[in-house]
């Protein structure tokens, strides 16, 4: 696949998760070696591939990643002048001159920031703007030696910004292109891309499916290109579980991104949650488990009286029969340096304490049996969790919770980094448990996976639930399309949403 970015243009890059956007960014940043046969020219001069890490700086490229790469505990000045301050071997730092340079850079883009202010005191918008200004300074630094305009890559800079912040960011981007440099703008938000870019490239499954001038592009046309129509709407094996009694109802649930929302999961139902990055769906499993504090929210179980989310702790959730499998497997789900058996029975070690002793032998035997049921390979409970592949480690952690017969299983990206075969095993286990009455809430950014296992999917946009997909609409394409359409909803307008009526 190939595409061109003209000097002084804003080039939009669109595509689903896994369509190849991040691979492209990584190749340019020199983290990834591309396959043979590709070529890259910059300002008309071919550069060799693969690029080495850091080459991009010499060429005049700069990246602003979603996490911005600012150091929160340092000042605006120190972050802005990070490269000039730490590179080279100057004898001493002239702080007065550095401050002047920082003020000049900030003033050029009419950014009213105190160079002495710490990053963690800034608003998200100010941080994003600062990161972009810094990237621009890097481009200009290269320009001073090469005499040629540069290229800035903005990778999803907007999902956590309010509308006014996005406009401010766009003004900044336009003033950068006026200097002759180009910007590649990567985003999931089609309307933003339409607003800021001159030219749009759409990727799908690692290939370029279209290049559009802004004048020719419409929202619908782009959605169609992103989602693709190659796969026909297949047959569904969805079960309508909404006739079953509601197991858990969350009302007024609000988190960092999530605006007060109401959702309910029925007994035996697999409920999917999805949306674009930053739309708030990914917070729901953690809020429902009491693993993160909510701004507000009440939970009612089995039609009983509701209680506040603030009274919920992971411990209480587990006692109520909830289970949470976080997306961060190594940081939040299992401990790599400890044996499989201990990871498996972490929430219920107490069960093996009989007659004043831990029954370590019984624990290992049960772990081996459980490992066999969930087809963990190799099934040796004494091994450290780190000895297993990602998929097998995930099986261990799923086995941990399934063995407890949870009444509500909360999942966040349950098959991240899990190979295809293992995926099917995990799905089968989920379906089986759901058929036996377990409720599942599964947050995922993968439409395909949701279409495969869910009975109902809620689409989130800008912190709100804005669409519900069931039955025949619940397909991979249907979900992807809904995600992109939903993002086009007017901001701020509260989207009244009610779960299907239940007693």
């Amino acid at each position: 696949m190939s595409f061109d970015v003209m000097a002084g243009e804003v080039h939009g890059l669109l595509g689903k998760n896994g369509s190849g956007k991040s691979t492209l960014v990584k190749i340019l940043a020199g983290f990834h070696a591309p396959d043979e046969g590709g070529s890259l020219s910059f300002n008309g001069e071919p550069t060799g591939l693969p690029l080495k890490p850091g080459d991009f700086r010499r060429l005049g490229m700069a990246f602003v990643h979603q996490n911005l790469g600012l150091i929160p505990s340092l000042t605006v000045l120190e972050n802005l002048r990070l490269v000039p301050l730490t590179a080279g071997n100057r004898g001493f730092i002239n702080w007065a001159a550095e401050t002047r340079a920082a003020r000049a850079a900030l003033a050029r883009f009419e950014l009213d920031l105190d160079p002495e202010e710490r990053i963690d005191r800034l608003t998200p918008v100010q941080r994003a703007l600062l990161a972009i200004v810094r990237a621009f300074e890097e481009i200009e630094l290269a320009r001073a030696t090469t005499g040629k305009p540069g290229l800035m890559l903005l990778d999803e800079p907007t999902p956590f910004l309010p509308q006014s912040g996005v406009e401010q960011l766009f003004r900044l981007v336009r003033s950068i292109t006026q200097s002759g440099s180009s910007v590649i703008f990567i985003s999931h938000d089609i309307d933003e891309v339409l607003e800021i870019t001159d030219e749009i490239t759409v990727l799908r499954d690692g290939e370029r499916v279209g290049e559009l001038k802004r004048a020719d592009a419409t929202h619908d046309k782009i959605v169609q290109m992103i989602v693709g129509r190659s796969i026909a709407r297949g047959a569904h094996r969805k079960t309508d579980r909404t006739t079953a009694p509601v197991y858990a109802r969350f009302s007024n649930l609000a988190g960092k991104m999530l605006e007060p929302s109401e959702l309910a999961v029925h007994r035996g139902e697999i409920l999917g949650l999805t949306g674009l990055i930053g739309s708030g769906y990914e917070e729901v499993p953690y809020l429902a488990f009491g693993a993160r504090p909510a701004r507000s929210g009440e939970i009612a179980i089995d039609g009983a009286a509701a209680f506040a989310q603030t009274t919920l702790s992971p411990r209480r959730s587990i006692e109520m029969g909830f289970a949470l499998l976080p997306a961060d497997r190594q940081g939040a789900s299992g401990v790599d340096s400890l044996p499989i058996v201990d990871n498996m029975f972490l929430p219920d070690v107490g069960r093996f304490f009989r007659g004043a002793f831990m029954r370590n032998g019984a624990m290992v035997r049960e772990a081996r049996a459980l490992g066999a049921t969930f087809e963990v390979k190799p099934n040796d409970p004494g091994l450290k969790l780190s000895a297993l592949s990602g998929g097998n480690a995930q099986k261990v952690l799923i086995a941990r919770w399934m063995n407890r017969n949870p009444s509500l299983l909360l999942l966040d990206e349950p098959t991240q980094g899990v190979d295809v075969g293992t995926r099917q095993q995990i799905f089968a286990a989920l379906r089986k448990a759901a058929a036996e009455g377990m409720s599942v809430i599964c947050a995922s950014s993968e439409a395909e996976q949701l279409a495969e296992i869910c009975d109902r999917v809620l689409i989130f946009a800008k912190g709100r639930i804005c669409q519900e997909l069931t039955g025949a609409d619940l397909t991979k394409d249907g979900i992807s399309e809904a995600c992109y359409q939903s993002a086009a909803l007017p901001t701020g307008a509260p989207t009244p949403y009610l779960t299907q009526a239940a007693p």
Binding site: F289, A291, S313, P314, R315, S317, I318, E319, L324, P326, D328, G331, A332, S333, G334, V335, D336, S337, L338, D342, L346, P347, V349, G350, F352, F353, A356, F357, M358, N360, R365, E366, R368, A369, L370, A372, T373, P378, N379, D380, G382, M402, N403, N405, A433, E436
Partner: protein, 340 residues
Amino acid sequence: MTDATKSDAIKTDASSTRSAGAPVNYRRQFERVALLLVWVLLIATFAAVMPNFLRWGNFSIMFASYAPAALLALAIIIPLTAGDYDLSVGATLTLSASSIAVLNVWQDLPIGLVLVVVLGIGVVVGLVHALFIIYFRVPSLVVTLGSTSLMSGIVQWMTNSTTIGGIDRALINAVVGVRFLGIPLAFYYAIAAAFVLWYVFDYTPLGRRLLFVGRGREVARLNGIAVNRVRVAALVASAVLASAAGILYAGVLGSADPYSGLNYLLPAFAAAFLGATTIQPGRFNPWGTIVAVYFLATGITGLSMLGIPLWVTNVFNGGALILAVTISQITRGREASDIG
């Protein structure tokens, strides 16, 4: 999974126990006993140079006089397992020993009551540490480093910076007066403490929780473990055990001086990390710690019997600490350290 299928699975497995058929890992087995072998080698070397090194009396004195150090090293591995440092155990030991002398000798309080008070001081020290480390989230390294200096100051004030002798004979008898197999009881107190810790670490759910809190705090929290309570308990246990070490120290010496206890900190840390390379490599474990304490003690005793000057002791202890941490890092496949 239903209970029926679960018990089924266990039944089918019972017939094929050890079906995984993992071959015995000889390298691992060797790792477990490597330090013991080095210890034997060390003893043999000293014995070859000095035939009278092997006298039982020599060993019994060493076993007793390093009992406070052993208790101190055991105290350290509790918060280390839970992911916190306690650098103040040396100062807690000194505070405890000095308090015994001041209360028993100067204030004439009965020794039984004094011991209870001293253990109570340990609880308070642990709780104060916990307040700053867990409630105010100050790094444990900073808090316990600060409290070391703070307690040392209090000890100097309390004792007028003098050595106080004349502690109740009953304590001295209970620690070094009575012997079993020629070794004073002090040694057996340390062994008893190791037994208790071994039981807690390996045979109670608390031990498992301690380990998970140390290795993955977020994992532990999301699995319903009361992380903060476990950390508080570990810090209090460490301070109480350090106080107990102070009791042994006062008993071994029959007096209390306000400075020498601090010298135990480094060997105790060296032993804790060296102990994590043996018996159960990769984990802080009580038996490994005991082996490491007496390995270091043998080295120092032997060297001093050879008439090597005092400064060698410091070199030996410091070198052992760095070497121990290096070895444990290598045996654990260069995984990042748990503590920080």
